[in-house]
Subunit: 132 residues, 2 copies
DNA sequence: GGGCATTGTCTATTGTATACGTACAATGTA
DNA sequence: TACATTGTACGTATACAATAGACAATGCCC
């Protein structure tokens, strides 16, 4: 039984590929627990209309998430959230995360965000994450 | 007077554009303070050889960093690190950072990295950042 | 000052990826 | 069984990434 679909916002003007934004945004919602296993996601056509893109673009995003084990896709039925058992993290995954984090923070600093602001935000995020 | 150039590692097999990896990696080093204003960066050709790519690929990365105010580029002279005065952060920059962070963490969790590990890593990172 | 190597820049060219248009196949429903 | 719904497959237009190679500005050495 699907709840009200959480809002997913994308930036059509961004250089970042739209399908990638959809993947990343939906994955964040899934990890956050915004969907229960068995929940229906919007159909590729419906979400495409909402976002103002072609339905194949959404379909591509859904396929990525399906490959990661988040979704079950079937014609005529739609996209259903799966009770997912995540993989074990590889050393590369951890290392890659650490590097990406450093680069992301460096970008923010380069953009003028004060270090204190970033540190505060990150610290709060870590605290919230630890409680889960 | 240039120091020994810190190692910059890129992944040619990654789908992420090489020039973007170079930009992101070098920016992180610059923010970290690995270079002093006035330091020479490797020439586009030298770094290209080190990384195994074409010198135009490195040149493109250097141009991005120059546009951000990190580098001064001149023919015959090379790439010199500038004493940079960063911009003031826009609201969009802060917001974008927050979203990207959430997506990055979600990806790591999806890849199987334990939440506790991430929280720990982020927390330590925030602490180190706050001290600066 | 002249000659020459060095270094970043410019202009194609090629391969690849993104997004779209359209037709198709599988599923659900009346 | 019809028919609508939904994801999929395939072709195409366009933009981007990376390369190749020639060019222009600078520095250096005699």
């Amino acid at each position: 039984m699907p709840r009200n679909a959480p809002v997913l916002r994308i930036d059509l003007a961004s250089a970042r590929p739209v399908y990638e934004q959809i993947v990343s945004g939906l994955r964040a919602l899934l990890v956050k627990g915004e969907f229960e296993p068995g929940d229906q996601l919007p159909t590729v056509r419906q979400l495409a209309i909402d976002l103002g893109v072609h339905h194949n673009t959404v379909a591509e995003a859904y396929r990525v998430l399906a490959a990661e084990g988040w979704l079950d896709l079937r014609r005529g039925r739609g996209a259903v959230v799966i009770d997912r058992r995540g993989p074990k993290a590889t050393a590369g995954a951890k290392h890659g995360f650490a590097r990406r984090l450093e680069e992301l923070v460096a970008k923010a600093i380069s953009d003028g965000v004060p270090r204190a602001t970033i540190a505060e935000h990150i610290g709060a995020f870590a605290k919230k994450l630890g409680k889960t």
